[in-house]
Amino acid sequence: MELSEHIKTANVEDVTLRRPFHPALRGTLCVTSHHLLFSNRKDEASWQLLILLKNIDAIEKSVENLFGYPRAVGSSGTITIKCKDLLVLQLEIPGMEECLNIASSIEALSSLESVTEMYPFFYRPSHLTLLGPWGLSTTEQYYKQTERLWDRWRVSKVNSDYSVCPSYPSAVIVPREVDDDKLIRSARFRQGGRFPVLSYCHHSNGMVIMRSSQPLTGANKKRCKEDELLLQAVIDGSELGYIIDLRSAQQAQQARMTGGGFESKSCYRHWKRIHRHHERGKVVQESLIKLVEACSDLSHSVDRWLSKLENSKWLSHVHSALSTAGLVVECVERDGHSVLVHGSEGTDNTLLVSSLAQIILDPASRTVTGFLCLLEREWIQAGHPFQQRCAHSAYSHARLKQECPSFLLLLDCVWQVWRQFPLALEFSEALLLRLAQEVYASNYGTFLCNNEQERCAAGVKENTHCLFQSMLKPDIEEQYLNPLYEPTDLAIWPSVHPQSLQLWTGMFLRWTEYAQNMEEAREEVWSIVKEHRERV
């Protein structure tokens, strides 16, 4: 079925658009295969609103047909559009039939299943070209640039055809002394084949952060010699390593009943296991839904707000992610030990914790380029299932499947770090907000699919543009810069007292009247900094 077949009414005149804190506008509404376009032409000035249909999380329609009036006058409908970037719009459409047609087109076209039908495959701006390498870096390039890895680590292509681990990239970094056969055996012992691979090597002491999925010890405490050897090779004769298990001890025990498990002390002698409970999947998605609901409650009661905010548990997730990342950093930086991080699947909280730890530890990941490279390495290449996790956002009424805002949680945590260290990050809140938007609906192919294998199969690299590359174009990058940036080589330990963490107002209240004053103050800061630069 062609996309255009979903469109029964493409154009409606005299539509009224209502946005929060803006006067209502009248204009023409258009539906295309991938966009909703509203344009308001008044004399010379024209104003347009272009929304990706994929950005629409939920629509609500109500129609009224006033009895006894001719159709053209009496019937009209209202569509409420709730976007994944949390914007809520209202469209008043004259004509009941038109309204219903538009609504059904939006419903069908906003939930396309097939990746190659999505807009990034059609987005062809004149200033970008499809030639040239896709993405910022590859595992091999990363290895080549990181001299401290050369001694003890190597790039393995064991997964070049994605048969060892479907969700890993084709190349991974592993201890030099572990050969590919051992990796294959270790992969069989780990859920989804996600055997322990290098995530980060600390610049000051060579200690590493590894990540994996849970070992498949099962009820009868299976062992895997190669997996044990692999981890032994990681700490390379030093006395101790830490395994940060992102489940409570009880959950880890229970996982054995379903074939999962944990590294037992007797088999992994030099590893000390620490359990930190993290919520995952549906629970976190529901937190987001409740938080967004709380933010749109207009009842003005402080008690109600605080109780809803608490009840959403969102800030509790932020709190635990930051504390566990802090714990990892303490192990690596203060105690000088290597760390293995995993939960169950190793595709969500594991990536969250390992990438946050790098922001805290590594000055290189705090620049614009470094941060985007980190995201590419630790989220895109490492196989965070974006398509599943970001299929719906906070407004959708659809039954939850695999949605989980892990990536949004990461952005929130990074924002908290920035709040506490406003000079230490080269990028500003604007970059985080842009990413929060792009991850749900984008012109670019970066966040499509669930892993490298799928991206290869769909031809994402050949047929779409890369978001990160476009964000790094000098004229565009400038809008994401933090004017106050002053690089520091030190670790930036965030405070994790609940009093030190805050609601990310820039994200969750971005469409309220609040944003305006903040924006003006930010511009003022910019101008002071610019003035200073010019004078000096």
Binding site: D303, S316, P422
Partner: protein, 643 residues
């Protein structure tokens, strides 16, 4: 001095409030301060605590390491000492108990504080704020409002100032009659005049109406206020209490205005709770945020249960109502509560601040406090417990006002000339009893104490340090485009004021401060501008050919003003040298000294940020010891190792 039994104790441990960290040092007890000096020579931290700041001292039961002494301060500092010998601890404890309960005003620090100024400087300090000039600025006296001398001798109302402004049609008999019908004689007087609409904000105490009593003079008085404003046919009477409280007061012969007896009034309750509820609420709040290893859930539930932000919002709602009535409807408003010195002061002051950009400047804010709080008799001595008379009179009413202002600065970052540090500093000195401004309960009492002759004014002191309190993004043009602030009352705008209530808990603060950084940049911009000007003048003087540039060009380092690290976002900063010059300014000195170690902190940290302060988990406690527990059975092992 006779109360000090042990002036010095060594080997005292100071425990961190939120982590297991402790430092050892020496405790000194002086006539005015309790001083802790860390013995570690490299980062000798010093903590100076003014006796007046101490709210309570508690001796906990003896432990193996010594006798714990818990000191809670009114500026929300909490220190936990462990003193090795029980006898020393007891001596310090009993000395402090006596020292922090002065029996007369003469014992307060303000009377011994000497910033080495001469009499003339002191006098000038007291003349900085002139309320007569302030009323003139508002446009009073005018054809409708006049100064009355009825209270010249404090005969009509002991707790009001001498100079009062009333409608010209209110004759002396009316005033006197009205005052007899009002609690504590606090009859309706002008506190703010909105020139644009000729609308007045007046304040008073509750009427002694009981169930049916009337007073014709009082009714005339309200009529006179109403008549003085031609823009509106009615005036609002705002009773800032919850209706139930007002009803209960009727049984005691007090109460509220009966709309049938007063012509053209619109009566309104706004429901701000009384001083006892507010005291309890703050206590609950402090208990919650003082908990160690507080979880996010307990924090948010505790914040809600304390009701603190709900009360803050109630005050804000009332002020917004007042500002709208005056600026939009152009109606005059009469505000009262019970005695008219707590909630009334909060609402009038905050309402005026919303209406008049002047009060959002540093000088203007001082004037506002001087007018609505000091001169109209907010009972600072009782509310801030200056003489320890009655714990039931203590209440954080003024603190709430400062917090409301802070909440506004968060919503309107460009509207205020001052930063939050200014508010925190005022709060500090309301309790320090170091300056005369806030001593006593009324203007009359302050005159009896001869404060202007015997003490110094805080305002002069703060104005001297003005650059430390500036808000770098303040925009006077914002004030022009937004003369009246219209804050949102959405619940999510009401936030916990961490920098106030955790002022001294360093581990909780952002490790880098935007405010401080931008202030530095601005300073530096100003300095560079100055240099350019100086160079231009020189060039003109010598003609362009000569080159006297060398000695003039400042080295680049000079352009970046050295700003010592500090505890708080943009806290006032004094270099050590200055501290030594002004030995007596301990509150600043304390800041600067305490700051010093922050900048010399560990190599791995940024501005004192360190892993140990954060406590990512109890697990970390075991990191110090290298001894691993022997192999334990799996089932137990899992549970135990996960702690």
């Amino acid at each position: 001095m006779e109360h000090i039994r042990t002036p010095k104790v060594e080997q005292v441990k100071l425990l961190d409030r939120f982590s297991n960290k402790s430092v050892t040092g020496t405790l000194h007890l002086t006539a005015t301060h309790l001083i802790f000096v860390e013995s570690n020579s490299t980062s000798a931290q010093e903590i100076w605590i003014l006796h007046h700041h101490i709210a309570s001292v508690e001796k906990l039961s003896l432990t193996t390491s010594g006798c714990p002494l818990l000191i809670q301060c009114r500026n929300f500092r909490l220190v936990h000492f462990v003193i090795p010998r029980e006898r020393d601890c007891h001596d310090i404890y009993s000395s402090l108990l006596r020292l922090l309960r002065p029996v007369s005003y003469d014992e307060l620090y303000a009377f011994s504080y000497n910033p080495k100024q001469n009499d003339q400087q002191r006098e000038e300090g007291w003349q900085l704020i002139d309320l007569a000039a302030e009323f003139e600025r508002m446009g009073v006296p005018c054809d409708q409002w006049q100064l009355t001398d009825v209270n010249r001798e404090y005969k009509v109302c002991k707790t009001y100032p001498r100079d009062l402004y009333v409608p010209i049609t209110a004759s002396k008999p009316i005033i006197v009659g009205s005052s007899k019908f009002r609690s504590k004689g606090r009859f309706p007087v002008l506190t703010y005049f909105y020139q644009e609409k000729k609308a007045a904000v007046c304040r008073c105490s509750q009427p002694l109406s009981g169930f049916s009593a009337r007073c014709l003079e009082d009714e005339h008085m309200l009529q006179a206020i109403s008549k003085a404003n031609h823009n509106s046919r009615y005036i609002y009477v705002m009773d800032t209490r919850p209706k139930l409280n007002a009803l209960a007061n009727r049984a005691a012969g007090k109460g509220y205005e009966n709309e049938d007896n007063y012509s053209n009034i619109r009566f309104q309750f706004v429901g701000i709770e009384n001083i006892h509820v507010m005291r309890g609420s703050l206590q609950k709040l402090l208990e919650v945020v003082g908990t160690r290893s507080l979880s996010m859930t307990d924090y948010l539930v505790g914040l809600e249960n304390s009701g603190w932000l709900r009360h803050i919002k109630a005050i804000m709602d009332a002020a917004i109502f007042l500002a709208k009535a005056v600026t939009v409807e152009g109606a005059s408003v009469l505000v009262h509560c019970s005695d008219g010195w707590d909630r009334t002061a909060q609402v009038c002051a905050l309402g005026s601040l919303l209406m008049d950009p002047y009060y959002r400047t540093i000088k203007g804010f001082m004037v506002l406090i001087e007018k609505d709080w000091i001169s109209f008799g907010h009972k600072f001595a009782d509310r801030c417990d200056q003489l320890n008379i009655d714990p039931k009179e203590v209440s954080p009413i003024f603190t709430q006002f400062l917090e409301c202002v802070w909440q506004l600065t968060e919503q309107f970052p460009q509207a205020f000339e001052f930063s939050e540090w200014f508010l925190i500093q005022i709060h500090e000195h309301v309790h320090s009893c170091q300056f005369g401004n806030f001593l006593g309960n009324s203007q009359r009492q302050r005159e009896d104490l001869q404060l202007k002759e015997r003490t110094y004014s805080l305002w002069a002191h703060l104005l001297n340090e003005k650059q430390n309190y500036l808000n770098p993004v303040y925009s006077p043009s914002f004030a022009e485009s937004h003369p009246v602030l219209e804050p949102s009352t959405q619940a999510y705008h009401f936030k916990f004021w961490r920098n106030m209530y955790h002022q001294y808990d360093r581990s909780m603060h952002p490790r880098q401060s935007i405010l401080k950084h931008v202030l530095t940049l601005k300073d530096s911009n100003r300095e560079l501008e100055g240099t350019v000007q100086a160079l231009k003048t020189k060039l003109q003087k010598f003609g362009v050919r000569t080159s006297p540039l060398k000695p003039q060009t400042p080295p680049r380092e000079r352009s970046i003003a050295p700003r010592p690290q500090s505890l708080i976002l943009g806290a006032p900063l004094l270099s050590r040298k200055e501290v030594q010059q002004e030995e007596d300014e301990e509150v600043f000195g304390e800041e600067a000294r305490e700051d010093a170690p922050a900048s010399t902190g560990g190599e791995r940290t940024v501005e004192g940020s360190s892993a140990t302060e954060n406590g990512y988990g109890e697990v970390m406690g075991s990191f110090g010891s290298k001894n691993e527990p022997g192999v334990v059975t799996l089932e137990f092992g899992v549970a135990r190792m996960s702690c």
